[in-house]
Subunit: 360 residues, 2 copies
DNA sequence: CTTATTATGTTCGTCTACCGAGCATATTCG
DNA sequence: CGAATATGCTCGGTAGACGAACATAATAAG
């Protein structure tokens, strides 16, 4: 009959909280300036955030500028946190992150492939027990293709179709994404592509290429979350069959075997050519590279850049988007998993449930 | 000193107005349901919108359902409108559109290429004189590559670098986009891909392929607005040089000359293969096609679908995104231009200036 | 035909997020 | 040292949204 909307009005709150997350150590006046609020509102909102144990003030280093000195805002020691996991071919990592994205309790251990999810589930259970209601969500980076939350192809792990979130049996929301996608998220939010309007990330590992296009800070996920499988664009020889079922896939020419067989120069050319085509089509303002792609950029930048330039539409050659080595070559997926998991905290539903959990 | 923010609080207003634009003929109760407002708020907001000459009530056809009958909301006869233009190889079109996207005063006339912009400028002047302060913005669809608001390549028109907005010398904001991008916007918002979370649109014309990826209703524009130049992905023979400066471009294999030279079957295969690769990489839930691509879909659907399926990663073949003929094969760019132009009206700045222009 | 049910829209009192002005505070600059 | 500058807090005011209650007008049930 009447609307069921208990929803508090927390849009202003959420905006401020997101800003603190994106740029910690901000002041109230800074918030007011950057979000277009009045200083009095900034004060009031921060007061509410403190009461909710969402932010805390800490001493700031003196700036040397004029004006009244002030404290800066950061994560609350009893605030909400998320667990992040990264499953790779032989090991699995875990970490805990709060507001601002700082990683804590980072671990890395080996697994035996099929038991990887059991180990992750166990660790998630430990963290849930330790952190109690502070743990709000989990993010998992998986080296495989995803569709609608399920892993549908993971050659590294020998998995069949797996619903990771269901397998973990967690009591908190679980976000599962492809590892290269998450690495791209980390680069766009806190890494080499920070503050770029649009960024393309590419990770090449020994057997494939993945990545993601970031537009305005958010990954362009596609309809089922499978966006970013750039390795299966037919840039290569149409006669070459790919284990994915298609043929001529780009990643058949950019992998460890090709490096050994055809030599680094051929692989570097193939990489550069594909990047050029993707830049033509997707128009990023920067391209971040990790894994094999970053290695080639380091060892044979000239070849990569030459093939890249040749593949660009000529009008682009005057100012091509730069090719940047990733800032997080080792833990990009883990960091990205934490970012997307924390996004669920920084939502209306997330804040409402946090408030409810604290009995407010 | 104090914040300069005169900005009215019109977020609720804007949400309601956007909803009316996206789905005209909605009721107050429908707004409340779909936007999570109370009915009393819906009443109040609609009252403000009527006072601002932004919406008007019109009689609704009886539904046959229970409950009190009601009027529905639509565009106000004195409300804000935008001008839309489409420049093609030999002709130019113009139209006027208001809330809800309905097109009025549609014209189509020939031009002599270099004078196209003069003709458009003249018509825009006429419309500005007639419509007065009701005219809020203009959108222009151009058959060329854009970068940062400027046309950098337009083989159809023989233009050099042209700043369309500046050339028009308009007194209202001007949005300039690639024609295929705008056709995709029209399909996603009001056409064949309506209500799809992610849609890929491809237009193939006699000399090239353009398109756009739509994610959540908005075009993924890229950093400079040049996103969607899918024709310059290197899906083709690496030895074939493209006028764009790159080589092996997809559009060299999918155009009128290829159709005549290599036959429709070869072109259909090339089209299907490229679409498959793009679906792998971008993960749309539907693909809309127009121009040559829609023709091939009509005349040789089997060949296109076969090549499409073969290029998909095998896990996708169980439920591939459907290939759909465009709903607006003739005026997609014009409609898309109106949509993006109207987006500037449906913004905080747009509403603030509308209110100011009405002396309120 | 009469009454019950259902859905829409309106009125009114209340609440709250945000604003602007003014003030206290603490630094650097001259 | 005083002047200038910047930050944060207090306080009264306002506008947008809410919930409860009511009026209205259709269909469904008797």
């Amino acid at each position: 009959m009447t609307t069921m909307r208990t929803a508090l009005r927390l849009r202003g709150l959420l905006e401020v909280l997101r800003h603190v997350h994106a740029a910690p150590a901000v002041t109230r006046a800074g918030l007011a300036r950057e979000l277009g609020l009045s200083r009095s509102s900034a004060t009031e909102i921060v007061g509410r955030l403190r009461a909710l144990a969402l932010v805390e003030e800490t001493e700031a280093a003196p700036t040397g500028e004029r004006g009244r000195p002030t404290t800066v805002l950061g994560p609350h020691p009893e605030g909400p946190v998320v667990a992040a996991f990264e499953i790779t071919q032989g090991t699995w990592k875990s970490a805990v992150a709060g507001l601002g994205g700082e990683q804590e309790r980072v671990t890395e251990r080996p697994h035996g492939r099929v038991d990887a999810l059991d180990l992750v589930a166990e660790r998630l259970g430990e963290l849930a027990a330790e952190l109690g209601p502070r743990l709000r969500a989990a993010g998992v980076a998986v080296p495989g293709t995803l569709s609608g939350g399920r892993v549908v192809q993971a050659v590294h792990l020998g998995w069949d179709v797996v619903d990771v979130a269901a397998e973990l049996g967690a009591s908190v929301p679980v976000v599962v994404r492809n590892d290269a996608t998450l690495a791209g998220v980390a680069e766009a939010r806190r890494g080499a592509a920070r503050d770029r309007a649009a960024a393309l990330h590419l990770t090449a590992v020994d057997v494939g290429i993945g990545g993601v296009l970031i537009d305005g800070g958010s990954p362009v996920a596609g309809g089922t979350g499978a966006g970013g499988e750039f390795g299966h664009l037919p840039f290569g020889d149409p006669a070459a069959a790919c284990p994915c079922g298609a043929s001529g896939c780009w990643e058949l020419e950019v992998n460890a075997a090709a490096l050994a067989g055809r030599g680094p120069a051929a692989v570097a050319r193939s990489l550069g050519r594909g990047i050029g085509g993707l830049v033509n089509a997707l128009d990023p303002t920067a391209v971040t590279l990790s894994g094999l792609a970053a290695d080639l950029l380091g060892s044979d930048r000239e070849t990569v850049e030459e093939a890249y330039a040749a593949a660009l539409m000529s009008y682009r050659r005057a100012a091509p988007p730069p090719l940047l080595a990733a800032r997080f070559p080792y833990d990009g997926p883990l960091r990205g998993a934490a970012e997307l998991a924390y996004d669920t905290v920084l939502s209306e539903a997330g804040l409402t449930s946090w408030q409810a959990a604290r009995g407010g």
